[in-house]
Symmetry: C2
Subunit: 336 residues, 2 copies
Amino acid sequence: MRVYQYLCDLYIHSNFALKMKHKFLLFVVLSLIIGTTYAKSNEMKTNSKTLRLIYPQWQGGVVASWMPDIPANDVSRGYFLGAQLLQVLAPESKQQTVEVPISLDMESHKEEKGISGYRAIIKQSKDALDLIRRENPDRIVTLGGECSVSVVPFTYLAEKYPEDVAVVWIDAHPDLNLPGDSYTGYHAMALTACFGMGDKEIVDLFPAKLNPSKSIIVGLRAWNDTNASKERQEEIGVESLSPAHVAQNSTAVLDWLKTTGASKVVIHFDLDALDPAEIIAAVGTDPDGLKIETVVRVINDIAKEYDVVGLTIAEPMPRVAIKIKNMLNQMPLLKE
Amino acid sequence: MRVYQYLCDLYIHSNFALKMKHKFLLFVVLSLIIGTTYAKSNEMKTNSKTLRLIYPQWQGGVVASWMPDIPANDVSRGYFLGAQLLQVLAPESKQQTVEVPISLDMESHKEEKGISGYRAIIKQSKDALDLIRRENPDRIVTLGGECSVSVVPFTYLAEKYPEDVAVVWIDAHPDLNLPGDSYTGYHAMALTACFGMGDKEIVDLFPAKLNPSKSIIVGLRAWNDTNASKERQEEIGVESLSPAHVAQNSTAVLDWLKTTGASKVVIHFDLDALDPAEIIAAVGTDPDGLKIETVVRVINDIAKEYDVVGLTIAEPMPRVAIKIKNMLNQMPLLKE
């Protein structure tokens, strides 16, 4: 800006004896500088980079027994197909899209240290972080994959915007498990992992920790054997709202967000938060869930007042698609 | 083969005074001819061309009222998304894949002469036939789209193999409607159209007619207001088998196929033939349908004894996918 000031002064105070030709040249240079400066500041405001992250991780789920009418391995890896389908269904965009490489080998599902798919999750978390760091986005929209696909992007954003990020975790379950709990699925440990709690080798991978006191679970209604207890939730200190709390309006979420003092929000949306009477799109089918229009309204109400820097769609389990895929795979002309 | 015989004779009876060099040259020429002839006959046997035809036609359905929980236009065009998803779910293949261009304009659904989407169906049928003729395949696997997507490929194959094609139409419904019936959906007129029956301007487009006496409907169980009556079926003279007829084995279909004298079979598979207790993948949800493994077994049993030259997967209506797509379309970060 000093050059700009200098050129302005030069223009205004330039010797009147200066030939018009020279004055014209000076005017052109000045205009170019002003134009470039304006365009650059505008780009910074509106064209900040959003990355679309396809993250078909499935190893964090232990869900095969819940869908006995589908072959177990196809259910386990069903999140992989789920991510592929979300990519087809998501609105077309010029956003840069990258995909985290995910193993489809059933060996990669092996439990270790009380966590399903332990080694694969470590490798894939590293790969996801490398990919994100390489692209260095300002915002990330993630298409999963089971719930743990939020951990890497959210902790990356926590590092980028220190102490300025609140978490809205839309989910039927608390996702506050820890290694050693009876259920070994890492997807049920996703929110605790965001807080830097859990297996040391895993949580040491993450760039930063999110703050439990700046996090809220919306749509929570299922505490059961496989999920963390209410006591665990209170101990960690995470607020929650039931589907009924947001059925009429988003005030409860917006009021809570004010208390965090954050200007940015990351939103995790587990499709099992939805009411199975309206749509069965995830693994969980706990009754009395959120209506689609409620979730859409809550998320958009947040986006009106806060800078949503992270959004994850998680837990797609495409039951019908898996059955059709398996069927087509046995058809003459198609399988050849 | 005359040239080949001549060269053989020439080789055997050649003057012994012929220099060895000349005999060697003759041997090389002979070998080349034999090799080329063998390779060509082998290619005809095993490498005949199968075309994968993506045919997302939706204008032949009038189905919006049957899914009141989804916006009407999204249901109508749901077959379009259905075809896209079938393409993702179909096994990967080196088959050449072509897609029939289909309008998504709701105007193209306009009824005329008692047929929904009349003008679009005429245009799209022409386009489909042009595409197929350009590729000149020996076999066609079609991913629809509503049921009428079988008409162009099947009548093309009827022309290619005159009087040698039997039709196995796997469907809960007879699809034997005619213009003037109360239900105007062209997909319910698909089998009659294959027989060259119906609107003159439409059926005149097709290269040949299939023979009702060489056609059978498998899984038929729904005669209702929107579908042709049993009387119509008898009048046209098409055999049928209920789901119970093929539940244990495929004998009824195979025995019937023998009576046709055909060596080739085209198979139409409307997903509504399946039992909704096992999978809801189509528009129709008539109870007591075929099990997935029954359909897979029947189709493969046919393929063991006959040359399956046409296979269509039709009527995919991806209810959950439509709801997810509409939801994602309203999300910040994704819709931007």
